[in-house]
């Protein structure tokens, strides 16, 4: 890690910490009429989804189009439950399986996680890397979903990242092609959008707390609307070289209905031009 990248990350963390300190994000106890604690949320949203009839696109699938943001209750910082630490607020975690809400690391992987979780400046997101799956939905910014024929497309505000998800269940790219944002291939299972991610380069973290992955990672994301303005998001992560078993997390996605809203540009890497405006005095 070179000095300037560390500095950028530190700035990001400081800004985030300041934001948290000054303007606590309101934390209503429900989302789409369901409690937000992950297990209770999952059970409630699943039940509601069975009785919910979504509006349809021309293709006959649920219409997910519009602006969304995650109701992530701070799990952008740590997917596991935790008491919080420097720049990391307390969270109740988002894992629903295993039941203890902990990532089922193999011993060597857990040791590495414990080591790197103290080095949040190494978080790839602090280097303006696309955040991969499922983390991209965990960021503190929103995104737009559009549904061209046979596709679902996510346009994220954060780092102008995107996902193009073909829903024709096509084959994945050759395994030798590894990418930061992976290769999403989708299909509709009834009213649930199922997205199968492979070809991820494994350099990502799941959060700011050092929870990490390898290039063998396989992610399956599931999106199910359970009210007109709420989506049940579930992701299952599998990697036999990292974890003793597959594990699953969930959280709520909420529609942003602000009139006239559209996403402005989040040019992350270009912010390095501002380094020249900082002096050693600014860092004290």
């Amino acid at each position: 890690m070179n000095r300037s990248s560390w500095f950028l990350t530190a700035l990001t963390l400081a800004a985030t910490a300041a934001l948290v300190a000054q303007e606590p994000i309101p934390q209503p106890r429900t989302s789409g009429g369901c409690p937000v604690e992950s297990k209770a949320f999952y059970e409630c949203a699943t039940t509601k989804a069975r009785a919910f009839a979504a509006l349809r696109t021309r293709d006959g699938h649920p219409d997910l189009q519009g602006y969304w943001r995650s109701r992530n209750n701070g799990i952008a910082y740590d997917v596991e439950p935790g008491p919080g630490s420097f720049a990391v607020p307390p969270t109740f975690g988002e894992i629903i399986d295993p039941p203890d809400k902990k990532i089922p690391y193999l011993p060597a992987a857990r040791a590495k996680r414990d080591e790197i979780r103290t080095k949040s400046f190494e978080d790839p997101q602090g280097h303006c890397a696309p955040s991969g799956a499922p983390r991209k939905n965990n960021t503190l910014f929103g995104w737009r979903i559009i549904q061209p024929k046979d596709h679902v497309v996510f346009l994220y505000e954060s780092m102008h990242d995107y996902r193009v998800i073909p829903t024709d269940n096509r084959k994945h790219l050759p395994a030798s092609i590894k990418m930061w944002h992976g290769d999403p291939v989708g299909r509709w299972e009834g009213d649930t959008l199922v997205v199968d991610y492979r070809n991820l380069n494994g350099k990502h973290w799941f959060d700011m707390a050092g929870n990490f992955q390898s290039e063998n990672i396989h992610v399956v994301e599931r999106y199910t609307m359970f009210t007109p303005d709420t989506i049940l998001f579930v992701a299952t992560i599998d990697d036999a070289t990292m974890y003793t078993r597959p594990w699953t997390l969930t959280f709520s996605l909420e529609r942003n209905k602000e009139p006239g809203y559209y996403q402005l540009e989040y040019a992350c890497h270009e912010g390095e031009r501002d380094l020249q405006h900082f002096t050693d005095d600014t860092r004290k």
Binding site: N2, S4, S5, C128, I146, M159, H181, E270
Partner: protein, 260 residues
């Protein structure tokens, strides 16, 4: 017999002429269409020219492939700079190896993002168009329905609005910053730039792309480029080009050192 033969011949000749005329009168390509009848541009596209290096006609030089140039107006193919702006362009040209924003992996801006030597994917619904680039995972979101602009908004990729002019997609983009270049040769603009792009699918595999630049701080008059985007028949999705991350991984970080 003879008058009849002449008559038949005349009818056949007339038919041939009519067929030829019909072909000449209706050579128009009929693009695939969305359900609302608007042309469908969806697919993976890329230019096959060297406009990224220099939008004006140029011979080859170190790390620069030669090219015909894409400026079609003014007719002489040269960008109509104001005198002071031309001096800036000359300065940019001299320092292009280090000063080209793309050398730092910055966002390419409009219109340069459309003629980078990398693929882009167009996706479309009846109310919006998305143009996604491999290069530093860029998206342009173009609403086709009215949407108020945010006054004073300034960005690398601009703030676009789209509409249909017959079968041509017209995109007007304002809200540019003054940091992007049109090419590696140092051709540049100010933050009052307005770009009007016109995309017309003229064949299954070809989009004719035009962009007109207006910027009274930099140019004496509007000027226009025209080029072709070609469809990749063998690519059903774009990959990624994470310029600054690759540099970091290679131990050659783009980001500058913190000043002492």
């Amino acid at each position: 017999m003879r008058p009849l033969l002449i008559g038949v011949t005349a009818i056949m000749a007339a038919a041939v002429v009519a067929t030829l005329t019909a072909q000449q009168a209706a050579p128009r390509y009929r693009p695939p269409r969305l359900a609302n009848g608007k042309p469908d541009f969806q697919g993976v596209w890329q230019v096959r020219n060297t406009a990224n290096w220099n939008v004006q006609a140029h011979g080859g030089s170190y790390k620069t492939p030669a090219g015909y140039g894409v400026v079609v107006d003014p007719p002489d193919g040269s960008i109509p700079y104001r005198a002071d702006a031309l001096a800036t362009r000359e300065k940019n040209w001299a320092s292009r190896d280090t000063a080209d924003p793309l050398g730092k992996c910055y966002l390419a801006g409009v219109p340069r993002t459309m003629y980078l030597p990398y693929p882009l994917q167009i996706l479309q619904t009846e109310t919006e168009v998305a143009i996604l680039s491999e290069y530093v995972h860029t998206w342009r979101w173009i609403p086709l329905t009215p949407l108020d602009r945010i006054p004073g908004y300034e960005s690398w990729m601009g703030d676009p609005r789209g509409r249909w002019d017959g079968d041509t997609l017209v995109i007007e983009t304002l809200g540019h910053n003054d940091q992007t270049w049109f090419d590696h040769a140092g051709n540049f603009h100010s933050d009052v730039l307005k770009v009007t792009e016109r995309l017309t699918r003229i064949a299954d595999d070809v989009i004719t792309y035009e962009a007109t630049m207006e910027d009274a701080k930099t140019f004496t008059r509007p000027w226009t480029i025209r080029l072709s985007l070609y469809r990749h028949r063998d690519m059903d999705r774009i990959l990624e080009n994470e310029c600054y991350l690759y540099a970091e991984e290679a131990g050659k970080p783009i980001r500058g050192e913190h000043p002492k």
